[in-house]
C-alpha cells in the first residue's frame, strides 16, 4: 500500500469523523421496554417512566431491567422506556432530550457521568427525576435538594462503597491471607464507587501498624492519594505483614493489560480484591490456581459456579429488586405525593449490599430474591405509592434492606 499525504490526511479525518459519529450515535436511540399491564388498569393512567442506563450488558444490569420491565410493569400502571448504553455526559444529555421529547413523566437514572445536567434538564422540563443505585455527592445534594422535580436518591453512598471494599479485605485477612492483587476497574476514569471500594480495601490492610499506602493509613488520606494519582501505585504500599503483588485497572484487554494481568496472576497472591466485575474479567485467568477472587458484583449463575468451585471467595452484590423503593417513590411523586424530608428537601437514602462467602449463602440469596419472586414485590411496595405514607415511614422502609430484614 502506497502511503501518500492524501491517504494519511484522509485516514486522520475519517478517524475523527468516525469517533464523532460513534459518540453521537451512542445515545441516538431508546428502546421501549415493558408495558402498562397492571390488573384492572383500564381506568388508571399509564405512567411513562424512562431509565437512563450506562450499562446494558452486565448480569446485574439485566436483572435490574428484567425486574422493572417483567415484574414491576406487570403489577403497576407503568411503561418503561430504556436508553441505549450511555458512555459519556454528551450521550446522557442526548438521551434526556429524547426522553423529554417523548413525554416521559419521570426519569430514573442509572447513569452518572453528568447528573447535574440531567437534573437541570428534568427540572426545566417539569418531569420527575430519581437516582437509582447511587447517590449525589454532598455538594451536588446541597445544590439540587430543593428542586421541585427531584425525587431523591437511593443506593450505596460513598461510605457504603468504602465499607464494601473494607469488608472484603477484612474477610480475606480473617482467612489468614497476606498477599493480595487489586483489580481497580474504573479508577483511572475516576469512577467514584470504584475509588471508594479500593480505598476501603487499602484502609483495612492499613489497620495493621506496619502497613501504609503512600504513608497514609486513614480513610480520608488514602482516598485523597487515589484521587491525586488517578490510579493505585503498588510501589507506594508498605507493610511488614501484607504484600501487594499486582495491580490491574480498566477493561482494555490489549497486550499491556494482558501482560499486567499475567504478572498479577504469576505473583500468586492469596486473593485478588476486585472493585467490580472481578470474576467475569479474571475468573478464567485464575482458574486452576489457588487464587481466590473477592468481588462486588451481582448474584448471577456464573458467580455461583465460581463460588462453588472456589474461585470466588467473597461476593458483595446488589440484590435483584433493590430498585423497588426508588420506583415506588418516583411513581408516588408522579401521582402527586412526593416524599420530602422534614425541611422539604428531596431524600438521600442509603442501601448496601448483600454478602455471600459460600455457595450455600449465595443460593439462599438467589432463592429469596429474583425477578419472579422479588423481596420488593407489589404487596411490599404498594403501601408507599401515593397512599399517604410519610417520609419517615418511607425512610424506615428503605433502611431495612439487609437480608435479615427482608428475608428473615
Amino acid at each position: 500500500m502506497r502511503i501518500t499525504r492524501n491517504a494519511v490526511a484522509g485516514t486522520a479525518a475519517t478517524v475523527g469523523m468516525t469517533l464523532a459519529l460513534a459518540a453521537c450515535s451512542s445515545s441516538a436511540g431508546t428502546e421501549a421496554s415493558g408495558s402498562a399491564a397492571a390488573d384492572g388498569g383500564d381506568a388508571v393512567e399509564t405512567v411513562k417512566m424512562c431509565a437512563l442506563v450506562s450499562d446494558v450488558t452486565s448480569s446485574e444490569a439485566l436483572a435490574f431491567r428484567d425486574y422493572y420491565t417483567d415484574y414491576i410493569a406487570s403489577e403497576f400502571p407503568v411503561e418503561f422506556v430504556y436508553s441505549d448504553e450511555l458512555t459519556d455526559a454528551e450521550a446522557e444529555k442526548t438521551a434526556m432530550e429524547g426522553f423529554i421529547a417523548n413525554n416521559c413523566q419521570a426519569v430514573i437514572s442509572f447513569a452518572s457521568a453528568d447528573r447535574p445536567t440531567q437534573l437541570d434538564m428534568a427540572e426545566d422540563a417539569g418531569i420527575y427525576y430519581a437516582v437509582a443505585t447511587g447517590a449525589l455527592s454532598a455538594e451536588e445534594y446541597e445544590t439540587f435538594k430543593d428542586y421541585e422535580y427531584y425525587v431523591g436518591a437511593i443506593g450505596p453512598d460513598a461510605m457504603t462503597e468504602f465499607q464494601a471494599g473494607y469488608d472484603m479485605a477484612q474477610y480475606f485477612i480473617g482467612e489468614g491471607d497476606t498477599s493480595f492483587g487489586i483489580f481497580g476497574g474504573g479508577i483511572p476514569y475516576y469512577l467514584e464507587m470504584h475509588i471508594n471500594r479500593a480505598a476501603g480495601m487499602l484502609t483495612a490492610l492499613a489497620e495493621d501498624g506496619t502497613t501504609s499506602y503512600g504513608g497514609a493509613t486513614e480513610m480520608g488520606d488514602i482516598l485523597g492519594k487515589i484521587y491525586a494519582d488517578g490510579t493505585i501505585k503498588i510501589q507506594d504500599f508498605e507493610s511488614d505483614v501484607y504484600e501487594l503483588t499486582g495491580y490491574l485497572e480498566t477493561w482494555d484487554f490489549d497486550a499491556a493489560w494482558q501482560a499486567s494481568m499475567a504478572e498479577m496472576i504469576a505473583a500468586d497472591p492469596d486473593a485478588i480484591l476486585a472493585v467490580g466485575t472481578g470474576n467475569a474479567i479474571l475468573g478464567s485467568a485464575v482458574d486452576g490456581t489457588d487464587i481466590q477472587i473477592g468481588d462486588i458484583d451481582a448474584y448471577t449463575e456464573d458467580n455461583l459456579v465460581a463460588m462453588e468451585n472456589g474461585t470466588l471467595g467473597f461476593l458483595a452484590g446488589k440484590f435483584t429488586s433493590i430498585n423497588g423503593p426508588i420506583f415506588a417513590a418516583t411513581l408516588s411523586a408522579v401521582q402527586g405525593e412526593p416524599y420530602r424530608t422534614e425541611d422539604g428537601s428531596a431524600f438521600a437514602l442509603s442501601q448496601g449490599y448483600w454478602t455471600a462467602t459460600s455457595a450455600e449463602e449465595f443460593q439462599e440469596i438467589v432463592d429469596a430474591d429474583n425477578v419472579e419472586s422479588p423481596v420488593y414485590d407489589v404487596d411490599t411496595l404498594s403501601p408507599f405509592v401515593a397512599t399517604g405514607a410519610t417520609y419517615d415511614e418511607f425512610a424506615d422502609f428503605v433502611g431495612k434492606y439487609t437480608f435479615a430484614d427482608l428475608v428473615g
Binding site: 502511503i3 441505549d84 490489549d254 497486550a255 499491556a256 478464567s284
Partner: protein, 345 residues
Amino acid sequence: MGSFMQRATGTLIIPVGVFAVVWTLATLDGASLFSSGDSLLILARATAVTMLTTMALAINLNSGRFDFSLGAMALASSTIGASVAINVGGGFPVMAAVTVLSGALLGAFSGFLYVTLRISPLVSSLGVTLLYEGLAFTITGGGNISFTQYPELVSFGKSLVAMTAVIIIALIGVYTVFDRSRFGSDYRSLITGQAAAVSAGVKEKGNAIKTYAVSGALMGVVGLIQASSKGLIEAGSINFSTIGIMFTAFLPMFVGGYIGRYSNDKLGYLLGALSMSVIGLGYSALKLTSAQQSLITALLLVVFLIFLSNEERVGRWWRKVKGGNRTPQQPSDTDAAQSVGTGAR
C-alpha cells in the same frame, strides 16, 4: 528494489528498533519485558489479533473501501460460534469452524450489500456495523456470553502454539490468496486500474465480495481468539462500540505499508503488529497507567504520520547530516503501481 542489505534494513529497522528502545527503557527501569511465564503467549496473542485485524482492514482499504464493520463481524461471528457450541455441543472445534465460516459469510454479505446498493463503503459499513451488533444482541438477548461453565472453549486463546500457528497460517494464507493466486492477480489489477481490468474480463463485483469474505473470515479468527482468551463475549450494545478495534490496526497498517516497500506488505503487517505488541509489553513492564498508555500510543501514531508526510524532508535532512549527496533508494515502479488505485467501487 535495492540490495538485500537495504531491503533487510528497511524491513527490520522498525521492529528491531522498537524492541531495542522498549527493552532498554524497561531495563533502565529495572523491569523485564518477559516477566511472567505468559509473556510470550501474550505477545503472540496480541500480535495475532492485531495482524489479522490489520490485514482485514488493509485488503479492503487498498481498494479504497473503508470498512467500519470489522469489529462487528468479529463480535457477531464469535457470538454465533459460541452459541452453537454451547447449545449444540461439539466443543472448541465446532465453535472455531462455525465462527470462521460465519465471519466469511458475514463479510460476503457486507460486500454484497456494498456492490448491490452502490453507496459509499463508509456509509454501508456503518449500517452493517449496527446490523451485526444487533444480530449479536439478538442472539444473546442483550447479555454477555460467559465461558465460566465451558472451560474447554477457552483453551485455544491460552495456547502459545495455537497463537503462533494462527500467525503463520494466516500470513501464508493471505500471502497466497492475494499475491500468488488468480484471485489475487485480479484483485491487484483492479487496484492498479479498474477500467482496464474490467475490460480484460475481471469481475470486479465478485472480487470485491470475495475480498470482503476473506476480511470477514480473518475477523472471525479475531473474534475466536478474543472470546477464548477473555472467556467472555460482550454482545449487549448496539452503539458502534465495536468500531474501536479497527483503530488498533492503523499504526501497524502504516508501518506495514512502509515495510512493504522493502519486502512484502503482509510481512509488514505482521512486523507492525509485533512492534505494537512489544510496546504493549513495555507499557506493562514500565507500569504506565492506562491514561499514559493511551497518550503515548496516540503520540506514536501522530509522529509516524508526520514522518510519512515529511519523509523526503527527513531524508534530505539525514543526507545533510551524513554529508553525503547520494539519491536514496526509491520504491520500485511495480510496488508503487500496486498500491495506487481505487479498485472495485
